[in-house]
């Protein structure tokens, strides 16, 4: 055991401060979305109908469930159950891949129909629909990048758990990985109704 002083509170607060910048980053995009929704309600409605609710809904369930296992893995390490913590965190990671696979097929289907940023088929459409799909690709794309980064952080944390760098007495890395992962879930909670269920 090292006797180096670690500032757990500072570490966690630093993570939260970073998350605040993420909230404002996505917040800016949400402002953009809401203004264009205000300007082109019918176009947004028509374009939104083209998105597949089953992909969106399935991914919502995948992310919420992955968050559950992330939260439970922190409880497990607090109870000094290393094996269970690793199992739970592995399930979270598996669900992250389920999410990304889903997204791959969803975007693939859109590309197949000729809908991607700046595509000729998209540019023939009314302005409001072009904006809707532009925001769709930017916002779900940026969110997807966060899922990929989150998965990388989870893999790193899994190794730290395995080698007991993360343990019952020092698990702030797992907590911060969890905070990042829940933020990804948090943003999806808003993306899902705004794009798939609209309105």
């Amino acid at each position: 055991m090292s006797n180096i002083h670690k500032d757990y509170l500072g570490s966690k607060f630093g993570m939260w401060l970073f998350l605040f910048t993420e909230i404002l980053l996505f917040g800016g995009l949400f402002i953009l979305y809401s203004i264009y929704l205000h300007k082109y309600p019918t176009e947004f409605h028509l374009a939104g109908k083209e998105l597949n609710v089953y992909f969106g809904g399935g991914n919502t369930v995948a992310l919420v469930t992955s968050s559950l296992f992330m939260a439970m893995s922190i409880s497990a390490i607090q109870k000094d159950d290393k094996k269970l913590a690793i199992t739970f965190l592995s399930i979270t990671l598996a669900l992250a891949f389920v999410f990304l696979t889903n997204k791959y097929f969803e975007w693939g289907a859109k590309f197949h129909h000729g809908i991607y940023p700046d595509s000729p088929a998209l540019l023939e459409r009314p302005k409001g629909e072009i904006i809707f799909f532009g925001l769709y690709f930017v916002m779900t794309g940026l969110h997807g990048i966060h899922v990929i980064i989150g998965a990388i952080i989870i893999i790193y944390t899994l190794f730290m758990l395995k080698y007991e760098k993360v343990n019952k007495d020092d698990f702030v890395l797992l907590e911060n990985a969890g905070l990042y992962w829940h933020l990804v879930d948090l943003i999806w909670i808003y993306l899902f109704p705004l794009f798939y269920l609209i309105l």
Partner: protein, 94 residues
Amino acid sequence: MSTESKHIVSYKTFIIVWALLLFLTAVTVWVAQINLGFLNVVAALAVATTKACIVILFFMHLKYENKLFKISVFMTFLVLALFIGFTFFDVAYR
């Protein structure tokens, strides 16, 4: 030598929270099928915000953190609400 938040949340609590979140997801999907006009947007955002609060309080442990965390999270969302509010004040009365 352990982390400040010694509070261990039980698996049962988390599973209840998870079930609640899935239920609210089903509610949004269901409400979206009914045509309420502008109220659809309000309903969707209300349910999403409820879900967000549950995630922040339980999954993100905010309920068990000290005041510093609670106040700064609140301030962040207040700032975001101000941004959105003032932007709409501009857009709506242009």
